[in-house]
Amino acid sequence: MNMSMKRIQAIFIKDYKEFSRNYAISVMVLLPPLLAFFYNKMGAETMQSYFIPINTTLAMVTAFVQCCLMAEEKENNTLRSLTMSPASIADILVGKSSLVFSITAIILALSIYLVGYEPANIIILILALAISIVFYIALGTICGLYTKTVMEATITVMPVVIVFLMGSLASGFSDKFPILAVAEWLPSSQIILLAEALEVVAPAKELIVPFVVMIAWTVLALVVTTVLYKKRMTDD
């Protein structure tokens, strides 16, 4: 894979400048820490409640912001200009994801601290969160590439975000509505299962299965992103 750190860094700096001057989108980063703070004050003690600000960050910051950034590039024809430069697909996709990855990591750390969640194994949790960030970035990129304008993107991404954000809550009602059991296989549910397994001495299977499911979602999303990017950047 042909990648240039200079180009990735240049796209990162460009995205940072654009993001910091775009208040309509940058204000979204305040939502998860605020939510985490209020949940802490309300006495959050369950894994479900700890993960509400975490999954909100992944859906509303990672996927939503990435979607808007990609859609804006498409709307202004700047993505085409980047594609016509010597930057490779990898340079552009990694460069365009690195800002959202960094912001998400900071907001997640802040939200986890504010909600009062102290994971039993921080290394495994960080690994799982990193995989989740990549998945939600890919999800946001897909929605951004699929749409033509920022306005269209914000409407398109919302149902997707709600499904992944609320999936973990919906699976709790699977006793009454068996169809909702399928939501347990969403990455947002799997990361909670993984976090619960970390708190007890669980068999290895209970750690491995969530990882495999999350990685499978991520690989699928990355493949779709690459195929869609190539398709959207040609006019055939």
């Binding site: 042909n2 240049a10 460009k14 400048k17 775009n22 700047t78 085409r80 200009s81 490779s88």
Partner: protein, 284 residues
């Protein structure tokens, strides 16, 4: 020896049942300024997209800078050409300088390339302005600066001066000639006949996806001329006389001896006239 920068042989492009290009063939030599003239929807932009690997032709052969056009999507080949189209986007929240610095980094250029490009388009004073503060003409000049900042071997320009005033148009023409003298081959599409005559070594007329005529503007004008001249006399009369004709020469001599002539003008067709003659429609 002059080598071909672009070679297009029997290229056809269809979109479903619509044929955008029909059996198009032409060659552009290294160092040439070539004008592709035609009205909207004639296939000009489709041709640029094929030559820059944004589209693949349905049939025929297209080679650019010695490689099949479809290979122009590779990074090393993309660094060899520049492109300015009517939808070349700029980052609106960034300044002019920040936009050019980004693309300078994409081409691995030193920061001085930004200064050179800004001077080229006469925008050095606007470097700190945000793109949202620029007029349409200024934006056009920034996108042109971005297209030429890596000094490409081949430059594609789609209506490069459409939004510019005469002063800046003249500045851009001067710069393009300078770039051409330094060895850059230029492929230009335009509606503007004066622009084509001023800049182009050769032009091709494209109508409904087919090339109708191709050649140097002076040759085309000669080929499609009706070989006549208009003579205006002191009496206010105007006479159209055939050129290269014995009777015309005698008439002219007689009028000249009596001091009756105010003006003699050869009736060369404009490129627009030739296009209309060939296609029955104008270039707009």
């Amino acid at each position: 020896m002059t080598t071909a920068t672009i070679e297009v042989k029997n290229v056809q492009k269809t979109f479903g049942t619509f044929t955008a290009l029909k059996d198009v063939s032409f060659t552009i030599k290294k160092g040439e300024i070539f004008g592709f003239l035609g009205p909207s929807g004639s296939g000009k932009t489709t041709m640029i997209k094929i030559l820059t690997a944004q589209l693949e032709q349905t049939a025929g052969e297209a080679n650019v800078l010695g490689v099949p056009a479809i290979n122009m999507k590779r990074g090393e080949n993309k660094a060899r050409f520049g492109i300015l189209t009517d939808n070349s986007g700029l980052y609106k929240r960034l300044t002019v300088e920040e936009n050019l610095l980004l693309f300078g980094n994409m081409y691995d250029l030193p920061k001085s390339a930004v200064d050179e490009a800004l001077n080229f388009v006469n925008l050095a004073d606007a470097r700190k302005k945000k793109v949202t503060e620029l007029s349409k003409g200024m934006m056009q000049r920034v996108t042109l600066a971005r297209a030429i900042m890596h000094k490409p071997d081949l430059l594609f320009l789609d209506e490069p001066t459409s939004a510019l005033d005469p002063v800046n148009t003249a500045h851009i023409y001067k710069g393009l000639r300078k770039l051409n003298e330094m060895g850059t081959t230029i492929f230009l599409t335009t509606h503007d006949m004066a622009e084509a005559e001023t800049l182009c070594d050769r032009v091709a007329f494209l109508h409904k996806g087919k090339i109708q005529a191709i050649g140097a503007p002076s040759n085309l004008k000669h080929d499609y001329s009706d070989e006549s001249m208009t003579v205006q006399l002191t009496t206010g009369e105007e006479h159209i006389l055939p050129m290269n004709d014995h009777a015309s020469a005698e008439t002219l001599t007689q009028w000249m001896s009596t001091g009756s002539i105010i003006r003699i003008q050869t009736n060369e067709p404009t490129l627009g006239d030739i296009f209309m003659q060939l296609t029955g429609s104008d270039l707009q």
